[in-house]
Symmetry: C2
Subunit: 247 residues, 2 copies
DNA sequence: CGTTTGCTTGATACGTATCAAAGTTGGTGG
DNA sequence: CCACCAACTTTGATACGTATCAAGCAAACG
C-alpha cells in the first residue's frame, strides 16, 4: 500500500516560512491581535512530508501538535487483525495530534499524508501556554474538536444503520465538500481533488476492497460517478444524495 | 437469580441545591479559586428529571449546557428510518449539550435519562463568558471533548471491523468500567449498575434486538454473563475480554 | 386480572466477506 | 522504446453473519 509515485507538487523543500504570516492565516489563531501573532510566530516550526509519509504513528508518544499548512492528511486507526480504518481526511488549517498532546497520551491514530504536505508544529509545552494565555486559541480548539466529534458521531450512525452502498455514497459526497472542484467536461459534476484508491474508500467506509470496487462499478454503470488514476468524479451529486438517503 | 434490589434513589424533588458546593465539586470548575466558585455559583441552575425523561431532543435549538449531577444519561442519535443509535452513557460530572451550545447549532443528539437524574444547567451566554474568563474551564471542556472523541473513534473502529459478538462484549466491559460494582454472590464478577434492556444493548452496538438477544443468550450459556430485570452481571471479565479481542 | 413491555426462539433471505484468479495501469530499468 | 514489475482493479463462486419476519412466552404494571 506504499506508493512511491510522487506527483510533482510545489517545491516543498524550498518552502520559505513566514511564521507571522502563518499565525495570521491559520484558524487556530484567528481573532488574535497583531502583536500576539508576532509573539506566537517564534514558537511555530515548519516541516514538510512527501506523499504517503507518516507524520506520526498510533501509539507514539505525543511530542507536538500539528497544523496542516498545505496538502491533505488522513487519520488512520489500526486494528489488531490488520484491517485499518480511515477516520477522517483533513486539509489546510486543521489540527492533528491535538488530543494526544492535550492529555499526554499516545497518539490514538496514525497521520499519513495523501500528497505532499507542509505542516506547522507547536511543541506541547508551548501549546499549553497558548491555551492558558489566549482564550481565543482555546475556543478555536474547542470548535475544531466539536466539529470532529460531530463528524465522527455521524460516522458511527452511518456504520450502525446504513448499508455499504449508502456509506460510500455519503463518503464521496463528504469528500466532495472538503475537496471538490467543478469538473470541466460536465456541468454540475464535481471532481474530488484527492488521490483515492479503492482500498482508501474501503477503509473509510468499513468494508473490504472487493465490496468497495463492486459498489463503485455499480455507481459507474448507473452514471453516478467516473474514476480514473486515483481521482473520482461525481457526475450526479443529486442522484448520489438520493442513494445516500434511501439506499 | 440475580440481585436486582434497586437502591432506593434520593428524593430528587426535595433536593437542596448548594451551588457553591456544586461548583467546587464538578470537574468543569476544578482548579478554580474559592472566590471564582462563589462568582460562578449564581449562574448555575438545578433541574431534575425522572427515569426515561428527555433532557433535550436532537434538533432542538440549544439553550443551555448541562452538567450531570446525579444519575446516568444516554445520548441517542436518531435516524431517518427509525433505528436509533446510542452513542454514549454519561454519568455524574460529565457534560451534555456542550457542542450545540458552543457552535450554536441544534443539538446533534437526544439526551434521555436512564434513571432519576439531577442536572445543573448553565445558560449559553454565561457559559461563553466563563470560557473567556477562566482558561481552566476551557481546558476542562477540551479534556472532556477529547475523551469523547477518543471513545467515539474507538466505536467507529469497532463498528467497522468487529463482529456483533465482539462489539457487545466490548460494550459490556466498557459499561462495567463506567458503572461496575462487585457482585456479592461471586468473587471477581461485576454488576453493571445501569438498567439496560436488550434494545439498549442493540442500539449501543449497531445491531437488532433479536441479534443482541441471541448473543447475550450465548454469553449466558457460556457462563460469561447473567442478567435479569434490566441488570447485567459479568461473571467472567477475563473470558469476556478474550471474546472482545478474538471473537 | 388483562394488558403492555420486554424477552426468546425459529425459519428464511439478503448483504457482505472471503478466496481465487485474471486483467489493467503506470513506472523502472535495460 | 519496450518489457517487465508491482500495485491496483476487476470479476466470479461460495460461505458466513446478521437482518427480517413471525410467533410464542414471561414478567411487570395499573
Amino acid at each position: 500500500m506504499v506508493d512511491t509515485t510522487s506527483r510533482a507538487g510545489p517545491r516543498l523543500d524550498k518552502l520559505q516560512w513566514n511564521m507571522v504570516q502563518v499565525a495570521r492565516t491559520v484558524p487556530l489563531f484567528r481573532g488574535l491581535a497583531e502583536e500576539e501573532w508576532a509573539a506566537i510566530a517564534p514558537l511555530l516550526h515548519g516541516h514538510c512530508f512527501p506523499k504517503d509519509a507518516y507524520i506520526f504513528f498510533q501509539g507514539d508518544p505525543p511530542d507536538a501538535l500539528y497544523v496542516i499548512w498545505m496538502g491533505r492528511v488522513k487519520l488512520v486507526r489500526h486494528t489488531d487483525n490488520g484491517r485499518d480504518v480511515v477516520l477522517e481526511v483533513l486539509g489546510p488549517g486543521q489540527l492533528i495530534g491535538e488530543m494526544a498532546v492535550l492529555d499526554t497520551r499516545p497518539y490514538s491514530t496514525t497521520a499519513q499524508t495523501l500528497e505532499d504536505v507542509a505542516v506547522v508544529t507547536i511543541a506541547r509545552r508551548d501549546f499549553y501556554d497558548m491555551l492558558e494565555r489566549y482564550p481565543r486559541v482555546a475556543m478555536a480548539v474547542i470548535t475544531e474538536l466539536s466539529r470532529r466529534l460531530r463528524m465522527t458521531t455521524e460516522m458511527v450512525r452511518s456504520l450502525a444503520v446504513d448499508r455499504v452502498e449508502q456509506r460510500i455514497a455519503r463518503t464521496l459526497l463528504r469528500l466532495s465538500e472538503l475537496a471538490g472542484r467543478p469538473y470541466d467536461s460536465r456541468p454540475g459534476a464535481i471532481v474530488i481533488d484527492i488521490p483515492l484508491t479503492r482500498q482508501d474508500i474501503a477503509e473509510m467506509t468499513g468494508t473490504t476492497v472487493e465490496t468497495a470496487i463492486r459498489i463503485m462499478s455499480r455507481f459507474r454503470k448507473q452514471g453516478l460517478v467516473l474514476s480514473a488514476r486515483g481521482r473520482v468524479v461525481i457526475l450526479s451529486p443529486d442522484e448520489l444524495t438520493e442513494v445516500a438517503r434511501n439506499g
